[in-house]
């Protein structure tokens, strides 16, 4: 029997993930003037789910292999494994039908009109797979649900964390809903903002008025700053998140390997870390950006591979502590391999630290992206808050002073970075009882809570 709250999660999260994927790729040129039909047509546009074919093929292979292994080992969760196989089949079909990218072997060359349907089926099947897993492992589902609930209960009491979370939710919401909030055509270099009443061009550096697109005024060529601001949020947050995840994965892997192996292997990894730590970050990132070209995927890679040393050091020091614990010796005695111990015993023990660190690295990554963009090394085809500041700076907005051009991206960056820092410290406090006040530290006993529920039921 699946715990009720876990079931509700699946029912809420499956459509939420679907909506997220739809919104990320929602066509930027939708004309909402055409009414509801146009909005709905946007959700089935051929642009949606336009992922490279190799990614689809890879996912098909991974899901298929996992399902086959599960079935061969005669897992109890037969239905879960069958769902995985179905998922693999859908991915494979998607790769064959949509093709494109690296694949020239596509059966029906690059028919992308069914991408939205494939994406919907894939997300739905993923939801079914989670459901099947939970049905086969009700205890683990209950435990997961209980853990998340406990963390949330503790997190909720931290006002800083809640403020940070609220700000992030607002900005992420703005970024995702950008197609509905601002017309992407306004970012075209040839589309200057006009006064809605008179139809006159507003002209460069027009101060803000109450007109929606002119709420933040116009830039040096008379374009809407608001539209730029809203679409910039996407790139800034996306680059920040992905670069932080990349840097944390690299840093955590190197930190755990260095801490666990120790000896000369550990030394080699740590000296490498030191090299990256002492290299001046900015000049190196600038050189890499100049050499590898300017698009936001490259910026993600550059930030990812230059900002991991801090994480590596922190993770290594915690791994050194965990490594000496007796259960590691016990695991080795059982016959576990080093890889198994690192994955199953060390990683779960340092995971909270990695996660808390990730949240803080997101803030740093967003700042790094802003720095590179401000220096003119950003993606010229996509606006980010840093790019906006760059254009404002080189076109003399600061001297005018056209404050409406400089302040929105500046304040947004400060708010987002501050919020991630708040979330990071709040989460650390949740993890470390020593940082909490005494009366706040009472995480409920799972069994006491269950008993209470039973007792309450009996009374009523």
């Amino acid at each position: 029997m699946i715990p009720r709250r876990f079931r509700n999660w699946i029912l809420v999260w499956t459509p939420a993930v679907w909506l997220l994927l739809e919104l990320l790729m929602y066509p930027k040129d939708t004309n909402f003037g055409d009414g509801v039909g146009a909005v709905l047509r946007g959700f089935t546009a051929s642009r949606i789910g336009g992922y490279p074919a190799w990614a689809m093929t890879l996912l098909a292979v991974v899901a298929g292999a996992a399902g086959v292994v599960g079935l061969v080992r005669r897992d109890k969760a037969v239905r879960f494994n069958l769902t995985l196989l179905a998922e693999a089949a859908v991915f494979a079909a998607w790769a064959v039908v949509a093709g494109g990218g690296l694949s020239q072997w596509s059966a029906r060359a690059n028919d992308t009109s069914w991408n939205w349907a494939f994406q919907t089926v894939v997300v739905a099947l993923a939801g079914v797979a989670v459901w099947m897993w939970a049905a086969a492992n009700p205890e683990r589902a209950a435990l997961t649900e209980w853990n998340v609930h406990q963390v949330w209960k503790l997190y909720r009491r931290n006002w800083q964390g809640m403020v940070g979370l609220a700000i992030i939710v607002i900005f992420v919401g703005m970024a995702l809903l950008a197609p509905f909030l601002a017309d992407h055509n306004l970012l075209d270099p040839n589309s200057q903002l006009r006064d809605p009443k008179t139809g006159q061009l507003l002209g460069p550096y027009h101060p803000p008025t109450l007109d929606y697109y002119n709420l933040f005024g116009t830039d040096q060529v008379g374009q809407s700053v608001l539209a730029q601001f809203i679409w910039s949020a996407r790139i800034s947050l996306f680059v920040g998140l992905l670069a932080a995840i990349m840097s944390t994965v690299v840093g955590a892997a190197i930190g755990i390997a260095a801490g666990y192996y120790g000896g000369w292997q550990g030394e080699v990894w740590m000296r490498l870390t030191d090299v990256f730590l002492v290299l001046p970050w900015l000049p190196m990132a600038m050189v890499l950006a100049a050499a590898w070209g300017q698009n936001y995927w490259m910026i993600i890679v550059i930030i990812g591979i230059t900002s991991w040393p801090g994480t590596a050091r922190v993770v290594r020091s915690d791994t050194l502590r965990v490594r000496e614990l007796q259960f590691i010796e016990r695991a080795r005695a059982i016959g576990s391999s080093d890889g198994h111990i690192m994955k199953r015993h060390v990683l779960p023990n340092v995971m909270p630290l990695i996660f808390a660190n990730l949240v803080l690295v997101v803030a740093i990554a967003i700042l790094s992206e802003t720095t590179l963009s401000f220096l003119g090394l950003g993606d010229p085809l996509n606006f980010s808050w840093g790019t906006m500041l760059h254009y404002a700076w080189v076109n003399g907005a600061a001297g005018l002073p056209a404050w409406w051009y400089l302040l929105p991206p500046g304040i947004a960056i400060i708010l987002v970075v501050l919020s991630f820092t708040f979330i990071g410290t709040a989460y650390e406090e949740v993890l470390d009882p020593k940082l909490r006040k005494r009366e706040e530290s009472g995480a409920d006993n799972r069994f006491a809570a269950a008993d209470e529920a039973v007792a309450g039921g009996a009374v009523s």
Partner: protein
């Protein structure tokens, strides 16, 4: 020539004849330190028959845990088996590679670790940890292994509902039971208990000992119990080995050791435990400390603390003497038939 052929036919190639299920022959283990080698275990021999239980006793630092860890080659990095043989099923484990040992560990010989508090990963469900050796050695899925973990939990007297509990949600006794369940996971023939009842209160200690005893008879396990607590040994073991400063000072059946202790060290060790039946008297302790094993004294290692020391004790090293069949004592006073 004919003699060699005879041995070759009686034993299959590479198989070494030995006593019992496991025989340890002249085991010597050193730890390398910066200043020299600590001779932690020297020339230790004993054997265990199938289904038999053997107690290894002695005070802290006498090498009993080192001897046990040497059997499974689980020594720390600076420890090494210098000489001697660990014979199991016709194979010398002391000569085996790490890979070869991983085939023996848990499937044939398993160990109950000291201090269940720390031997369990605090962030992993207890049942999954009990299931870990099954996954590793039998290659089944985690879910299958978890089913077996549930059975094992019931077998050691924990409700199967608790498999998904984290170690901190279990009591000390339950954690120790979980460790025992883990040791039994792959149906071994021999289990080594490294102080399985230390750090538990007396009531729980008795329950755990009863449990071990019951499981031993149900599953026909051979058991090596390592303990500094002679009363625990007296209660559970068929045979005993008393160690002092890295060597065996006395070995024999538990009755031999407790009724007719031949070595002054054993006698004083027994005297240092209160007796609830006899007359009320102060418990005596043994004065002095065990010798520094970096430089092993030439004579009897116990001589400086011995109340029955005679001239020559500190110069000549006594050999083990069989005072009665199966009862061996390492002392100059020991005479056959005492």
């Amino acid at each position: 020539m004919s003699a060699t052929t005879a041995t070759a036919t009686s034993a299959p190639a590479g198989r070494i004849e030995h006593k019992g299920l496991l025989e340890v022959r002249g085991l010597t283990t050193y730890f390398k330190l910066g200043v020299g080698d600590v001779k932690a275990v020297r020339d230790v021999s004993f054997h265990v028959e199938p289904g038999e239980s053997l107690g290894l006793a002695g005070e802290s630092g006498c090498g009993k845990t080192t001897a046990a860890l040497s059997i499974l080659k689980l020594l720390p990095e600076n420890g090494r088996i210098v000489s001697g043989e660990v014979l199991y099923d016709g194979k010398n484990l002391a000569r085996r590679t790490e890979y070869g040992m991983s085939k023996i560990r848990w499937k044939e010989i398993s160990i109950i670790f000291q201090g269940a508090m720390n031997a369990l990963n605090p962030v992993k469900e207890t049942g999954l940890q009990v299931a870990e050796p099954i996954v590793l050695h039998e290659g089944v899925s985690e879910e299958k292994a978890l089913e077996r973990a549930r059975e094992l939990f019931e077998m050691v007297g924990i409700s199967a509902k608790r498999v998904m509990d984290f170690p901190h949600q279990l009591s000390g006794g339950m954690r120790q039971r979980a460790m025992i369940a883990m040791a039994l996971a792959c149906n071994p023939k021999l289990v080594i208990g490294d102080e399985p009842t230390t750090a538990l209160d007396v009531m729980v200690q008795a329950q755990i000992l009863d449990l071990i005893e019951r499981l031993r008879h149900e599953l026909n396990l051979a058991f090596i119990l390592i303990s500094h607590d002679l009363s625990v040994m007296a209660e559970t073991c068929d045979k005993g080995v008393i160690m002092y400063a890295g060597e065996v000072v006395e070995s024999g059946t538990t009755t031999d050791i407790f009724r007719r202790a031949g070595h002054p060290y054993t006698q004083q060790l027994i005297k240092s435990f209160p007796n609830i039946h006899g007359t009320r008297e102060m418990v005596s302790s043994i004065p002095g400390d065990p010798p520094n094993l970096l430089v092993v004294p030439p004579g009897c290692t116990f001589a400086p603390r011995c109340s029955e020391r005679v001239a020559g004790c500190e110069e000549t090293h006594p050999e083990l003497v069989e005072v009665e069949p199966g009862h061996w004592v390492r002392c100059v006073h020991a005479r056959k038939g005492v």
